[in-house]
């Protein structure tokens, strides 16, 4: 390999003006904006569940949607932080999704407790997981594409939160589209697969975000 001083001269000669990356707050707001537009367009195409206005009056449903939005916002923000080598020196904020996941689990627990007698289970099952996955594909692709322009030193974690962010958009879409009151079905086929998605994200992050 070449001498360190030669390398430094070569790199310095290549040192043109560089535009700094936006602040992670700005970056995450951009990504969230694009994802929310995608969600609105998807709902406009597929249609919203007919009882959405009534359902949003239900505190448990509203809490579930709010918690899911919080998961989406915090995972997107964490992904934006994790693309910086030093996590923009805000390492603790990268763990913000933990708080929103706890809130989300609490919301689901309360919904499950109040589901008495349990609402009838729909006949379908894995179709919901597949639907969410298909909806999450496009956001996943563009999120990873944008993330590759940066320099993550926590590739696995960044991949995991990025995929969870995309999956939460898919989950929001399905919850606002499908007329379904069975909380057991929602937990089993909408939200538990998130655990698997998180693990897949770890693997994808290692492969895709390596630089």
């Amino acid at each position: 390999m070449e001498n360190i001083d030669d390398l430094i001269s070569r790199l310095a000669q290549d040192g043109q003006t560089v535009k700094s990356a936006p602040h992670p707050f700005v970056l995450s707001l951009k990504w969230m904006g694009v994802a929310l537009i995608y969600l609105v367009v998807s709902l406009a195409i597929s249609g919203v569940r007919p009882d959405w206005a009534d359902k949003l009056q239900n505190p448990l449903f509203a809490t579930e949607i709010a918690a899911l939005l919080a998961v989406f916002a915090t995972t997107t923000f964490a992904a934006a932080l994790l693309v910086f080598p030093d996590i923009h020196q805000k390492g603790r904020l990268a763990f913000a999704p933990l708080a929103s996941f706890m809130l989300f689990v609490l919301a689901m627990y309360l919904s499950w407790q109040s589901d008495v007698p349990p609402a009838s289970l729909p006949v379908h099952g894995i179709e919901c997981t597949l639907g969410i996955t298909v909806m999450a594909l496009l956001p996943s692709i563009w999120t990873f594409y944008f993330m590759r322009n940066y320099a993550s030193t926590h590739c696995r974690l960044a991949g995991s939160v990025a995929l969870l962010s995309s999956f939460s958009i898919g989950a929001l879409w399905l919850r606002l589209y499908e007329v379904n009151d069975s909380i057991l079905h929602v937990i089993e086929w909408h939200y538990l697969p998130m655990l698997v998605i998180g693990i897949i994200g770890l693997l994808l992050g290692k492969k895709i975000l390596k630089w």
Partner: protein, 179 residues
């Protein structure tokens, strides 16, 4: 110390606006800053040099992720640690690839030294000159017919330790017999 930090941040800001001399100075200072960090973690100077070059190239590629408004050192160290982990992972993976399985040694070395060419009895005198534990292990395995696992149980040792001791004994014997 603070002055040096201020300098590094100011140098990076000037570098981002296209000042090549400032950028060269920044990279020089960064390499001086990181050299002790790498020297403490790597055995050979040549490894530290190779890795330093990779780190400087990585800093160059990632410089757009630094805005000059936060401390420079944590940013540079984060990249250095990342590259160091990559280097060590590759290094140990390479060592594992070249490692020899003791089971393979057990299958090949004894045959070449003691079974195919020579009987245990014919080298008994040489075996007795080995350290006591190695001699006992060879005697049990080749005269009494115990397996490594059984020897380990009888001598209250770990099976791998028995295989390692036998392997060392084979090496000593081979050295002596080849002379």
């Amino acid at each position: 110390m603070t002055e040096q930090n201020d300098n590094l941040e100011a140098l990076m800001q000037r570098s981002l606006s296209g000042d090549q001399r400032a950028y060269a100075a920044l990279l020089q200072q960064t390499s001086r800053l990181l050299r002790p960090f790498l020297a403490r973690r790597l055995s050979f100077a040549s490894e530290a040099d190779d890795l330093m070059q990779e780190i400087l190239i990585s800093i160059h590629k990632a410089r757009h992720t630094y805005d000059g408004k936060r401390p420079y050192k944590p940013w540079a160290y984060a990249i250095a640690k990342f590259r160091l982990q990559d280097f060590l992972r590759a290094h140990y993976a390479d060592q594992l690839r070249h490692a020899v399985d003791f089971d393979e040694l057990e299958e090949t070395l004894p045959e070449g030294v003691t079974e195919a060419v020579l009987s245990y009895e014919s080298i008994h005198a040489e075996v007795q000159k080995l350290p006591e534990k190695q001699a006992t292990i060879l005697q049990m395995m080749h005269q009494d017919g115990y397996t490594a696992k059984e020897v380990a149980q009888k001598l209250d040792m770990n099976e791998s330790a028995v295989k390692v001791a036998a392997h060392r004994a084979y090496k000593i014997l081979r050295g002596k017999l080849e002379r």
